[in-house]
């Protein structure tokens, strides 16, 4: 469960911060090009943050009390594999969810 005090601090700051990011150059018309190292780092923000966000939870899910769950692990691997092969987010979600439900229904 989300702590409501945390939520009511996160909501406005995240909203304003995200808007500031979007407004940054479009709004102020900063025409100076970004330094090369910064453009380079920005290119990799999403692939750097998202895997770290899920990896521990995939191996040690909170729902099973931190014990590695074959169904969840298999679902994660199938999602990744289908996403890599098809380059389609929707196909990967469907394959991963399908694997999870099939395994939970038969094994789990």
């Amino acid at each position: 469960m989300i702590d409501k005090a945390t939520f009511w601090i996160v909501l406005p700051v995240l909203a304003l911060g995200t808007y500031a990011i979007r407004f940054s150059f479009l709004g102020t018309l900063g025409t100076r090009p970004l330094p090369g190292w910064l453009t380079r780092a920005l290119r990799y923000t999403a692939v750097a943050v998202l895997p770290a966000l899920v990896a521990p939870g995939v191996l040690w899910p909170a729902a099973t009390g931190g014990e590695t769950d074959p169904a969840r692990l298999a679902a994660a691997l199938v999602t990744l594999a289908v996403g890599l092969a098809t380059r389609s987010t929707m196909a990967a979600i469907l394959a991963g969810a399908g694997t999870l439900f099939a395994l939970l229904a038969t094994v789990g």
Binding site: I2, T6, F7, I9, V10, L11, P12, L14, G17, T18, Y19, I21, R22, F23, S24, F25, L26, G27, L29, T31, L34, T39, R40, A41, L42, R43, Y44, T45, A46, V47, A48, V49, L50, P51, A52, L53, A55, P56, G57, V58, L59, A62, A63, R72, A75, A76, T79, L80, A81, G83, L84, T86, R87, T89, M90, A92, I93, G96, A97, L104
Partner: protein
């Protein structure tokens, strides 16, 4: 029909295929948000004020793990940093428009409106700033109302879904499904690999700080390999 109206329709049509992803994604956000304990109004405030899917999911996940506010914000904002590039890329095309136009565009600057506008400018470099703006808002009309309505639908049905559906795993699957198609080059692969490895090794660190270190390390490795490849090509 005016040329701006033509451009608006071109943007709308070009962005339509993206609704296949946006709709279910927003629905899922509504469901996961209510499962995490937010009520419908809170979930909707979240979707409307932040309006950035991946970071909304990231914030939900870290808040559910009871990470401190600073870690939640750092994680969610890091996910949105890619939009600095969007803002930089679009700025020269819209410089002559009034500030209120650009301020409104900033709110609606998402992956889909950005991708559509850039692709359309590429095809039609001679467009005026007004026509480019029309393309942008055409794409916005295709995805934004759907994002809000599907979030609302998800939040309304969220409570009705029983726990045996293993919704705890909806977030990991969604994130992995978003990341996999991005792994199209060596630096991307290396960054993702380092991200996974470090987050597992550092999983014991308190307050989700392992996540931030892993992300920073992964970003650095991606950027370094990117630079190394560029130097080698030159």
């Amino acid at each position: 029909m005016t040329s701006a109206r033509h451009a608006f329709l071109r943007g709308l049509l070009a962005a339509l295929p993206m609704t296949v992803v946006v709709g279910p994604f927003a629905l899922l956000f509504g469901v996961v948000a209510t499962e995490a304990g937010l009520n419908v109004i809170e979930a909707m405030l979240f979707s409307v004020s932040v309006f950035a899917g991946a970071s909304q999911f990231a914030a939900l996940q870290t808040m559910q793990e009871n990470a401190p506010v600073l870690v939640v914000l750092a994680t969610a904002l890091a996910v949105n940093l890619r939009m600095v590039m969007y803002s930089v890329t679009l700025a020269p095309h819209f410089g002559e428009l009034p500030l209120r136009s650009r301020a409104l565009m900033a709110y609606f600057l998402v992956d889909q409106s950005f991708a559509t506008t850039v692709a359309e400018i590429d095809r039609n470099p001679a467009m005026t700033a007004q026509e480019k703006r029309a393309v942008f808002f055409g794409a916005v009309v295709a995805v934004a109302p759907l994002w809000f309505l599907a979030s609302l639908a998800g939040a309304l049905i969220g409570r009705a879904i029983p726990p045996e559906y293993a919704l705890d795993f909806a977030l990991p699957i969604t994130f992995l499904a978003m990341v996999a198609p991005m792994l199209r080059s060596l630096p991307h692969l290396a960054a993702a690999g380092v991200s996974i490895l470090l987050s597992l090794v550092l999983a014991g660190l308190p307050y989700g700080t392992g996540l931030l270190i892993a992300a920073a390390g992964a970003m650095t490795v991606g950027a370094l390999i990117d630079r190394w490849l560029e130097v080698r090509r030159a």
